[in-house]
């Protein structure tokens, strides 16, 4: 591992991200908000520009050269994504706009057909709104029940609560994050999948955060559904992924109707295309999808293991340094955690922290991080959050600590 780590020269990698040279309020940009959306390497920017300057047309339609080339480039990304998460087949990869749309797609199509009124969907207390609200909407529209699995004070799934929630055998779906965007906790998805399956439930994994930092293997985990967004994985916004096992996708009705998703259409009636096209109505995000392909190539070239090792070292460093700041408290202390660190300070409100850091060129996020109920569970209204990416350096964590020390002094 450490040999791999040394091979990753962070300074050289940073050269790949043009935006990191920008100044903010006259200071060097220290970008610690990658969990919200990551910056883009030149390879992604150029891949997208290249489509538009030399090979663009609509996909799956034309018989002409440009359309064929674009369709090839677009469909090649499906293979890349399948390989990246180790799906069994390319047809198990559905392109969406983002993880939010992927979850809504599952709730709307699978939820309304595979689930019966009275069936239970279970989520944890630390889900992003994207993995909570669609299940509330399904409950209200379809009569399913929604149950919340507790987390422990350290920010891990509370196994007793999990067992309680599953006790009556009515849970048919466990929808769970693989990494909390607030606490940085990794959940034991392999164990959770085994547990869900042993209780007759399927598992949907929200991989938005985890996929950026860890090698994902949907087959090893035995995930039924896995979702993520391109923009957090150094790709563009506007492209997301839904992975689902082939037999599940086969049985799902379409999400939206229109072009591309049909097999045959008459004025009276239509038949549906096979997955994945059944779920991709209309002209897709062609340029963004190709950008996502470039992002996957980019992280693959560095290697997920190398990225994970670099970020683990950074996270360890930050967890050692930040608590030295008087009055600063980190939320969550899970055993298995990654580079997303939420904190509060005794005298400074998260908003003031974020504004004051911003004036020093340091970007952190402040607020409820689209996890409002979790804030209540943690006994705060908001937190400040620093999150790391493959381009984050030790010096930047030093800058954060120094910046926070200045904030503390102002409010002391």
């Amino acid at each position: 591992m450490s040999a791999i780590l040394e091979k990753v020269n962070i300074e050289a990698l940073r050269e790949d991200f043009p935006i990191l040279k920008e100044k903010v309020h006259g200071k060097d940009l220290v970008f610690l908000d990658s969990a919200a959306s990551a910056q883009k390497p030149r390879a992604v920017i150029e891949a997208m520009t290249h489509v538009m300057t030399s090979q663009y047309a609509n996909v799956h339609r034309g018989l002409h050269y440009m359309s064929e080339r674009t369709s090839e480039a677009y469909e090649a990304v499906r293979d890349k994504v399948a390989g990246f998460i180790n799906a069994a087949a390319r047809d198990e990869i559905v392109f969406t706009r983002n993880a939010t749309e992927s979850i809504n797609l599952v709730a709307y199509t699978w939820g309304r057909t595979a689930l019966k009124p009275g069936d239970v969907v279970a989520v944890t207390e630390m889900e992003h709104h994207a993995n909570l609200v669609p299940w509330q909407m399904l409950r209200d529209a379809h009569g399913t029940e929604l149950r919340i699995i507790k987390i422990t004070d350290s920010g891990e799934v509370d196994w007793h609560s999990l067992e309680d929630v599953f006790a009556d055998g009515r849970v048919k779906l466990l929808a769970v994050t693989q990494m909390s965007n607030v606490l940085g906790t990794y959940t034991p998805v392999e164990r959770l999948a085994k547990f869900a399956h042993a209780h007759g439930a399927k598992i949907l994994i929200d991989g938005c955060q985890a996929i950026v930092h860890r090698k994902i293997d949907v087959r090893a985990v035995d995930a039924d559904f896995f979702v993520f967004s391109g923009h957090k994985l150094y790709g563009p916004s506007g492209i997301g992924v839904l992975y689902a096992k082939a037999d599940i996708l086969d049985a799902m009705p379409p999400f939206m109707g229109g072009g591309d998703m049909i097999a045959h259409v008459s004025y009276q009636k239509s038949t549906w295309a096979k997955p994945p096209h059944r779920f991709e109505a209309g002209t897709p995000a062609i340029i963004e999808t190709i950008g996502l392909g470039a992002a996957i190539d980019y992280v693959n070239a560095i290697g997920m293991e190398a990225i994970a090792a670099h970020e683990a070292a950074l996270t360890g460093h930050a967890l050692a340094v930040l608590p030295n700041i008087e009055g600063l408290r980190i939320l969550g202390s899970a055993q298995d955690r990654g580079g997303v660190i939420s904190f509060v300070m005794k005298d400074a409100h998260p908003h003031d922290i974020a504004t004051l850091l911003d004036r020093q060129g340091i970007a952190v996020r402040a607020g409820h991080h689209c996890a409002e109920p979790l804030m209540g569970r943690l006994g705060v209204t908001s937190t400040a959050r620093a999150s790391f990416a493959l381009y984050t350096t030790r010096e930047e964590i030093g800058a954060l600590a120094k910046g926070l020390e200045r904030v503390r002094k102002m409010f002391a």
């Binding site: 908003h351 003031d352 504004t355 004036r359 020093q360 409820h368 409010f411």
Partner: protein, 133 residues
Amino acid sequence: MSDLYQQIVLDRTRHPRHAGRPAHFDARGEGANKLCGDKVSIYLTREGMDLHHDAEGCAILTASADLMADAAAGKTPAQMRELAAAFTQAVTSGTPNPALGALNALTPVADFPSRIGCATLPWRALEEALQDV
């Protein structure tokens, strides 16, 4: 950055002069920022326009509420409505207004678009309270 976090703002956050729910009040207004979860309650006593606040939020919100309470003393509801309009104008444009006195300390917030709402939230709550006096 010291532009926005002037001494008076920091001081009013650390030691607000008008914090806490009074035993008696004639009107009450609430403000909540859905985006960040910050909250403020404004309590008005008709006599002499005695104003108190209960703020759960950032320095900008707390200082805004506390300086508003200073300014309210002895004013009529109509005068307070005018002041609210003048304050909103000043913190969105960044132009100080002599009528605002110490409240002008908050006008630099105009340069921080995402924070303007923090400064104006107590004033929204005030407008709600004023409907009842």
